[in-house]
């Protein structure tokens, strides 16, 4: 699995960080998404899919 984030689309809702703080973070300065693990290990993949589904601005894309 590969995760791609689009910071131009991101609105900083924090939903992804809440879903899995090991994979997603928010920038201290602008609050936008920071991808910590573009290729998350198996035990974080379900959460990554949830984060992509919940993200309100559809800024997270999952490539299988």
């Amino acid at each position: 699995m590969k995760i791609v984030v689009d910071r131009d689309k991101c609105i900083g809702s924090g939903q992804c960080v809440m879903t899995d703080p090991a994979v997603f973070d928010q920038d201290e300065d602008d609050g936008l998404v920071i991808l910590l693990q573009p290729e998350p290990p198996a035990d974080h993949q379900a959460a990554a899919r949830d984060a992509a589904m919940i993200c309100p601005s559809q800024a997270i894309t999952i490539q299988e």
Binding site: I11, G12, S13, D30, D50, S57, Q58
Partner: protein
């Protein structure tokens, strides 16, 4: 058939029963609002997310055809527009100035302070003895204190700004009453912005003044508009979620008992009550800028759309047995905070406040109960944000 919107509830905790019928047979249906404006009402979860994420539906309240919620709301949006009624790139310009104050990390850092406010309010309630109106003693002061500290608004002025806020979200307010309330609130916040320009403090309005107003990125009116949105949204919504959520739990004692005795459901109980109650029951408003087809129905450019989040959050396609309150349910995909670029900016703060409340209140007052018969509770049918007017409790 064109129905009148909003429709009537039967049970105070459930959306109008017509929503269920429409979701099944006419998911994009025609409704007429308070001033005769016709709009398309969206009741399915998938359609709601699709519309709210689609840039072809505008949030700009100045567009012809935009369906305002009430006379009061039309006035306040005309007079003090904020980024919830703008489209990108204008919307993003303002929203991005605020995001860094509402990140998960920033808000988590407030958790100890929020816990100490909750603890001291509960101390006061216990000291006062029953009966106590939980709205005035707890639900309203908590988010008001938190947002005042964050913005740098003196809490001592809460009677004034809460009254102005109530007038603007009361669908029964006249245009004149709303006009006066909006003008007075804008005047109050304008003076506060000027005071912070003379002497900035360590608060959000001061940061906007120093980082955005002084270099000319925004106008004084823009700062006032942002302050007003955060102040009003920051206390009205959370206060109603606390009071109505408590009322709903008291009406479902098995769920309250589960929450009181099992700390592992505190977070999910917050999400479930957000889903189940969806207090923003007046719908998310949009106007189509192009022809768009939703669930087979053509919505033409210029037509108004109302997304009924409360209907979407009871969609059985997404939530099994949606009319059951289940504090252990995994409900985080609800649309109670909206969806798309306008999803609530303050949701991390709302979540932490509600989590602290749910993790504290029912444990510290384990025998909490209504002090009046349930059928005497007065629900906020007329208000743009749903809730209870008072919640008399004893223990």
């Amino acid at each position: 058939m064109t129905r009148t919107f909003p429709m009537s509830r039967q049970c105070p905790y459930d959306p109008p029963p017509d929503y269920g019928r429409l979701r099944e047979s006419e998911p994009v249906s025609r409704v007429r609002t308070w001033d005769g404006t016709e709009a398309w009402l969206i009741t399915r979860y998938a359609d709601s997310r699709a519309v709210l994420a689609d840039r072809r539906f505008s949030s700009d309240s100045r567009r012809p055809g935009y369906p305002s919620v009430s006379a009061a709301s039309a006035v306040s949006r005309r007079q003090m527009r904020s980024f919830i009624n703008m489209d990108d790139p204008e919307h993003a310009h303002f929203r991005r100035m605020l995001i860094s104050s509402f990140t998960m990390r920033q808000v988590e850092a407030l958790r100890p302070r929020i816990q100490s406010i909750v603890d001291s309010l509960v101390d006061d309630i216990l000291a006062a003895g029953p009966p106590v109106d939980l709205v005035q003693a707890f639900a309203l002061p908590l988010p008001s204190l938190v947002i005042c500290e964050l913005l740098g608004v003196p809490y001592a002025d809460h009677d004034r700004f809460q009254a102005w806020s109530r007038t603007t979200i009361n669908a029964a307010s006249t245009a004149e009453q709303a006009q006066r309330a909006v003008t007075e609130l804008a005047g109050y916040l304008g003076e506060l912005v000027d005071a912070k320009d003379r002497e900035p403090g360590d608060d959000l309005i001061s940061r906007l003044v120093v980082n955005q107003l002084r270099p000319g990125h925004v106008t004084r009116a823009d700062v006032v508009g942002m302050a007003r949105l955060l102040l009003v949204a920051g206390h009205e919504t959370t206060a109603n979620m606390i009071a109505l959520g408590t009322a709903a739990l008291l009406a479902h004692p098995d769920q309250l008992e589960r929450l009181r005795t099992d700390p592992s459901v505190v977070k999910s109980s917050v999400e479930e009550l957000l889903r189940y109650l969806t207090i923003t029951h007046s719908g998310r408003r949009r106007v189509a800028t192009e022809d768009v087809t939703v669930s087979g129905q053509l919505i033409s450019a210029g037509e108004a759309v109302i997304v009924a989040g409360d209907a979407a959050n009871r969609d059985p396609e997404v939530f099994a047995e949606p009319d059951q309150l289940d504090v252990a349910r995994k409900a985080r995909q609800h649309v109670a905070f909206g969806y798309g670029i306008h999803q609530c900016l303050g949701q991390p703060l709302a979540r932490v406040e509600l989590q602290v409340v749910h993790g504290t209140l029912y444990g510290r007052i384990p025998t909490l109960k209504l002090a009046i018969p349930a059928e005497q509770l007065r629900f906020k049918h007329d208000m743009i944000v749903y809730g209870v007017h008072e919640l008399p409790v004893s223990w």
